[in-house]
Each structure stands twice: as C-alpha cells, then as structure tokens.
Symmetry: C2
Subunit: 197 residues, 2 copies
Amino acid sequence: MSTGWDRRRELTRADILHAAWTLCRDRGLAGLSMRDLAVEVGLRAPSLYSYFASKSEIYDAMFADGQRALLEMTAARAEPPSGREGLRSTTAAFVSFCVAEPVRYQLLFQRPIPGFVPSETSYGLALEFYRTYTADMERIGVTDQRLLDLWSALVTGLTDQQVSNDPGGDRWISLLDEAVDMFCGHARLLGEPVTTT
Amino acid sequence: MSTGWDRRRELTRADILHAAWTLCRDRGLAGLSMRDLAVEVGLRAPSLYSYFASKSEIYDAMFADGQRALLEMTAARAEPPSGREGLRSTTAAFVSFCVAEPVRYQLLFQRPIPGFVPSETSYGLALEFYRTYTADMERIGVTDQRLLDLWSALVTGLTDQQVSNDPGGDRWISLLDEAVDMFCGHARLLGEPVTTT
DNA sequence: GTCTATATTTGGATAGAC
DNA sequence: GTCTATCCAAATATAGAC
C-alpha cells in the first residue's frame, strides 16, 4: 500500500508547482530557474529532479495546471443564454480569468518560452477547452468561422492590451460591453444593446 | 577628413544590424547571441564591441531601425481620406507592415526581451509614430479615446492572431475589411460598407 | 529522497597583444 | 579594429555518498 507515499509525493509536486507560479509572477515566465525554485520550496536544486525530469516538465505541469483551472472555471458557470447576454457573460468570465493572472495567460495563450511545447496530454486539455468554447459560442449563436475568428481577435486584443499596457487597471476591460454591442450589431445577434451610447 | 572612416564604420554597423535581423528571423529575438552574430558577419565576438557597447545596444539599434521603417512607410503614404476608407487603407498598411516581419513586430510592439528597454532616442521614434498615428485617426474621424482604444485592440488582436496562429497565411488579415465595417457601423463613421455581407 | 560536489554548456564581456 | 585567450556568471543537469 503505497498510497500514503504517492500522496506525499503529489503534495510536494503541488508545492513545487505553487512555488513556480509565485516565482514566475515575480520574475516572468522566462525568469524561472531551478536553483531559485528549489530555494523557494526549501530544497536544493538536484532534489527537484526527483519530482520533475526537467525544467520543461515543470512548465508543462504549469500549463496543464492553468488549463485545468480554465476548464473548472468554465464548468462552474451556468450554461450561457443565447445572444448578446450570453456572449457578454461568457467573454467577461474568460477575460477576467486571463487578466487575474497575467503570467498564466501568457503561458496558456502566448508562446513566451522559446522551445517549450506542451506535451500531448497537456495540449489535450487545451483542445478540450477549445471544444467547450466553440460549443458555447454555437449555443450563443455564433457559428460562422469568420465571425468566430473576428470575435477571438477582438477578445484577445482587449485582453492583451489590458495585460500589456494597463496592468491592474481597467482601461480595456471596461470596453468589453461596448465590444459586445459592436460585434452583435455587426453579426445581427438577438438582444438589446448592453451599453447605453 | 574622417568621413571615409566614419562611412566605413557605418557600413559595418549596418552589416551587423542586417545580420542580427537575419539571425532573429531564424532563432527568435531571444535567440540572438554575440558569438553567432559575429560568425554571421565574419568577425569574432569581441570585435562587435567596437561597434556596439553591449548586446542591449544592438537590440536598441534594431528597435530604432524598425521604428524608422514604420515611419518611412507611413510618410510614403498619401494622407488618408476621412471616414471608412481612410481607416481601411491606413490600417491595412499598418497590418501589412507588421505581418511582413513578425520578428520586427514583436520587437516593436511586444516586450519579448526581458530587461530590454528602448533608449530615450529610440523611444522618441516610437512616440513620433504614435503622434502621426493619432493625427491620422483624428483626420479619419476617430477622436474619442474609448473608440481609439477599442480600435487598437481590434487591430492588434487581428495582427497577433495572424502572426501567432497562421503565419504566412491570411486567415485573420482577410477579416480586416469586415472589422472596419463593424467598427464604423458602431462608431457611426461616414461612408458605405466596404464588404458586401 | 536529499544532499554535496561537479560536469557541462552557454553567453556576455574584458585584457592585452598585434 | 581585430584578434586570441580568458574571465565570469548563470543555469541545467548528473554522479555518487548518505
């Protein structure tokens, strides 16, 4: 019966992962080093290799961690209503998730680590989110690929500008309702405008 | 009369810069190393320091180089007409510029080099472009800050998605006209739709 | 599993001869 | 200005004792 052992091991792994997120928040994703990580978690660098085979594996675990958080956030929400309000609330949830942890956002949606490629299983989580996302969008009433692409560009653009140029502020997230109305007006989605112009 | 000398020096500097761009196109911005750069240009690493005081100065020169190219591209264009068509042509020129050289786009508009901050004079070039850009937008008819921000998010979103997820293709740039119409419909800018829906 | 010690690599930068 | 030789620092990863 090695469950106690495995459990302890899992706990330490989680501890390392937690410390990795903390370090990355401070010094950026690329600033993570095995030495510092070991110090943060109260070990020496070589000991980390008992838990992760390489630094890349740590990034991969962080990637999976972030994707799981995103999936959980999505799953915790009620099914979005169709039309404008569904789009608004779904997108607001997504953008909040991204803006809340800029480093996580960078790891999941940009490619800031040269040479890092998510493992097959981690990438599977990303695909799973993408499926639920498109399913939501379909229910909301956006099915055309061009419209999906246009909307994804708008959402990532807002998120990116917010994270890059006004971290901690709301200069771009505050435009979300207006973006929804602009898009829905164009796509002729049902519902009344959310913003009052 | 040291013009011949200075000229030769300028030529070598330009050669180094050219090689730097080439290397970055291959291995990414962060992948640039003084050793490889020296080899590429036919020198040894220490010799580079006769032309640039540090690696950071090389990045800075590249940044200035890119900003100048952007300014030249802008200056070469006729004054944009007002309204929808002005927005369309101005934005198309900008996005083309970005997509043509993804590495240059990253250096100018993202922060991919940890610790790199443009020098005062280089940043001045960026400010100069920003001024001409906002002046253009004003002439086009977009003056409200919120609308400017919304449009900037949309443009950078399209550019980013194109560069990141469909390099060499046109999946997102092909949506530009539609984006213009969507935005102008929302902002109630003059002119007829460009796309036929 | 954890440690000390170390190998290995890489890359920026400098000293000093020519 | 360019070179050889070298320094220095950082960082991943491994070997082997305990």
